[in-house]
Amino acid sequence: MMSKREHKFVSADPELCTGCTLCEYACALEKDGMFNPLRSRIRAVRLYPSGNIAIACRLCETAPCVIACPRDALDQSEENGTIIVDDDKCDGCGWCLEACDFGAITIHPVTKKAIVCDLCDGEPKCIEICPVEALSLASRDTHATKARIEASRKLLKAQEESEL
């Protein structure tokens, strides 16, 4: 049985991310065949001078957007954890947007329905185009593993240095 914890979402490594927003372009092109960051399911952020990251839906375990929706228009897929929007129910009120801590769900500028990363059937265009491979599909466990390795590296290096 698959647990939600193993669901993978589009994750950006801020060390690699150049803040170029190319992921936004690729997403809007893939989904709508035109360009507008407002049509993108992933958004890049730059904090001056050089803090860069891109944010897409993190497939939260108890997704606040789903809970917040007063019309029950949002549901979370058991299969891959993505947020599924029922366009018939969604009236674009934006509660989901306010509930999301990451700004990862938004309202489409034309349809006025909630839009959110759907992982492009498992092959996200943003990951394909990212020129620095800053984007990848990762689960929270992948992140934890990476963090453990990084922490260990620092820890062991510190130990090595103190032994010298």
Partner: protein, 629 residues
């Protein structure tokens, strides 16, 4: 037309009125965007012979063709043009960041600003809404504060800005325009024009869709170009960046040092790209939809310049490093940051400071003039303090703020012999004394001293030609470079990505995006057309062969050391180069486009404005005249 927003916005700061006009399809095809649009608009709209600070003059912001579209290195390229307060001729400058894409989404291809506001003002464009906002509280603020304050008061962190700092307000003739904190439309004093109009900034927010004509074909070509954009053709810019040129040019004895008294800098290692990357560069990031990345953000973590950060590139390392004899990377980073904050063109600013240093060392000015500063080569503290004095026009800074050409005229005493400029615009960092194809490129450059109009250092440094000799054939080499660059600066493709394109692909991309027919041949012809119209503008402003010149030092004072030791460009050599260039251009020997050439390029309507000017070349008397003080 897809791609293009299809609209030109006109704003009159005197009346406060604005209106739009459709972008004519023929203009799009013939002039592409960016440089082509800018040059055409100022030629059409500006009365010849006006002072650069004449309120009626237009300043034109023109977007690259692919702003807002997923094309590598081209998604947010924008240009600005107007009559340069440095050259009294064509002023143009280009920048990237994120401002251009936002402007396209707001619905405009070109923004033409004329008139002068009664008091400090900024322009706030939010889609169809165009407002003049009070900027009294922003006057006197630097670029970064201005950006933060406007975003805050508009309550929208997504607003993008192009602004001026104190240098632009104070009409420093080489004031630049800054956007997205680290990007500059640097050259030819466009920031001073904004200042003369009381225009502190343009803030823009756009929400419109940008469509492309043929989505499937576009996707295919776009993804292919992105693949190339991260490949070997851009490796240099992703690695050391342009700062990698420091050691290369220094070895070639082509890195101007101490105001061009030499071309080899003994401190090159300490200001090299290698050294910067190892000790100071903390991040290499990208502009809007860049497939490569080159923006080397360098931060200083200790010492007197602790907390400083800036984008490092070869050119400011030359101007604020070797040219002023400063061999400290941290001081250079701080100096570049000051230029961004005050809104000084970092390139000109360094050459101006270097000129001041030579004046001081030769005893033509003293501490009385400098306000007590020991303005010697290599004194980094003097440099940072002098940058401030220039921006605020204090002490000798008031004269230096006029640029080296005018400053030399004011100071006299033979100082013009070490004023490094062409057409009033300070020299960029290629020592043309030992790069003679490049020397021609600099001499004829339409915006004054510049390597970016032609890239003619290429054949010299690659050894395609003998860089120490001249022949008439160099003319065609420079022309080829100029016309390619006219295309590149009009589509506005990032020059660091130029290696990934050929003309046919540029044309294909143009057609897939806009739906307008285009071929490689036609696009190159557009380049030639744009180069020629720029010349028409300059001729109309009174420039001719006599202005296609080199700095006195480059023709009298040979390089002192290294592999180029003893090299300079003689008057005779320059004449051979110019003869060859004009001939290959199809211009008269006085450098005026002929009727036949104008007809060939579809510029017949402009011939009348320059007819007869060939016969009576005017001596240059622009320097020192006009507006500022």
């Amino acid at each position: 037309m897809d791609g293009y927003a299809g609209k030109i916005l006109y704003v009159d700061l005197t009346t406060g009125e604005s209106r739009t006009e459709p972008l004519p399809e023929k203009m799009a095809e013939d002039f592409l965007g960016g440089a082509g649009f800018g040059i055409k608009m100022i030629t059409d709209l500006q009365r010849p012979g006006t002072d650069a600070f004449d309120p009626e003059n237009p300043i034109v912001f023109s977007l690259g063709t692919f702003c807002g579209v997923m094309v590598p290195g081209a998604s947010s390229k924008w240009g600005v043009s107007g009559k340069s307060p440095q050259s009294n001729a064509l002023g143009e400058a280009y920048s990237t960041g994120f401002f251009g894409a936002e402007m396209r989404r707001a619905g405009y291809d070109i923004v033409v600003v004329t008139g002068k506001a009664k008091g400090p003002t900024y322009l706030y464009i939010e889609d169809e809404s165009v407002q003049l906002m009070d900027a009294s509280h922003l006057w006197g603020k630097d670029n970064w504060e201005t950006e933060a304050m406007i975003k805050e008061e508009l309550g929208d962190p997504g607003v993008r800005l192009a602004s001026i700092g104190q240098a632009g307000e104070n009409l420093v003739r080489f004031a630049c325009i800054i956007n997205d904190r680290l990007r500059a439309a640097g050259r030819t004093g466009m920031g001073a024009i904004m200042g003369s109009k009381n225009l502190k900034a343009i803030a823009v927010r756009g929400t419109a869709d940008i469509t492309v004509a043929d989505v499937e074909k576009f996707k295919e070509l776009s993804f292919e170009m992105y693949k190339r954009a991260k490949g070997p053709a851009t490796e240099k810019y992703r690695g050391l960046g342009t700062a990698g040129n420091v050691l290369v040019l220094n070895k070639a004895a082509a890195m101007p040092t101490r105001n061009w008294q030499d071309a080899v800098f003994e401190g090159a290692e300490k200001i090299s790209g290698e050294f910067m990357n190892e000790h100071y560069v903390t991040k290499i990031q990208g502009c809007d939809a860049c497939g490569s990345r080159c923006e080397h953000v360098a931060s200083v973590n200790e010492g007197p310049y602790k907390g400083s950060y800036a984008r490092v590139e070869y050119e400011p390392i030359y101007s604020l490093g070797s040219c002023t004899g400063v061999d400290r990377a941290d001081a250079i980073i701080r100096s570049v940051q000051l230029c961004d904050l005050y809104g000084l063109d970092a390139l000109s600013a360094g050459v101006v400071v270097a000129f001041g240093m030579e004046l001081f060392e030769k005893g033509l000015i003293t501490k009385k003039d400098t306000g007590g500063i020991d303005l010697r080569f290599g004194n980094h503290e003097a440099q940072t303090e002098m940058l401030r004095k220039i921006a605020f026009r204090e002490d000798i800074g008031d004269i230096l703020a006029e640029g080296v050409a005018r400053a030399a005229e004011k100071i006299g005493k033979g100082s013009e012999a070490f004023a490094l400029h062409i057409k009033g615009v300070e020299m960029t960092g290629y020592d043309v004394r030992g790069l003679k194809t490049c020397a021609l490129g600099y001499a004829v450059s339409r915006r004054g001293a510049d390597h970016q109009r032609h890239g003619a250092y290429g054949p010299d440094l690659k050894g395609t030609v003998d860089r120490f000799s001249v022949d008439k054939g160099r003319g065609q080499l420079v022309i080829d470079g100029e016309d390619v660059y006219s295309v590149i600066d009009s589509l506005i493709l990032c020059k660091f990505n130029r290696g990934i394109w050929n003309f046919d692909e540029m044309a294909q991309m143009y057609t897939h995006v806009t739906g307008l027919p285009m071929t490689g041949e036609k696009i190159l012809l557009a380049g030639e057309r744009i180069s020629n119209l720029a010349r028409v503008y300059n001729v109309r402003e009174g420039l001719g062969r006599a202005d296609d010149n080199l700095p006195i030092r480059c023709m009298t004072d040979p390089i002192k050391s290294g592999v180029a030791k003893g090299s300079l460009v003689t008057r005779d050599e320059l004449d051979i180069l110019l003869d060859g260039y004009y001939e290959s251009r199809g211009w008269t020997n006085e450098g005026v486009p002929t009727k036949a050439k104008m007809d060939e390029l579809g510029l017949s309507e402009y011939y009348q404005s320059i007819e007869g000017l060939a016969k009576k070349p005017k001596p240059r008397k622009a320097k020192g005249k006009g507006g500022a003080k």
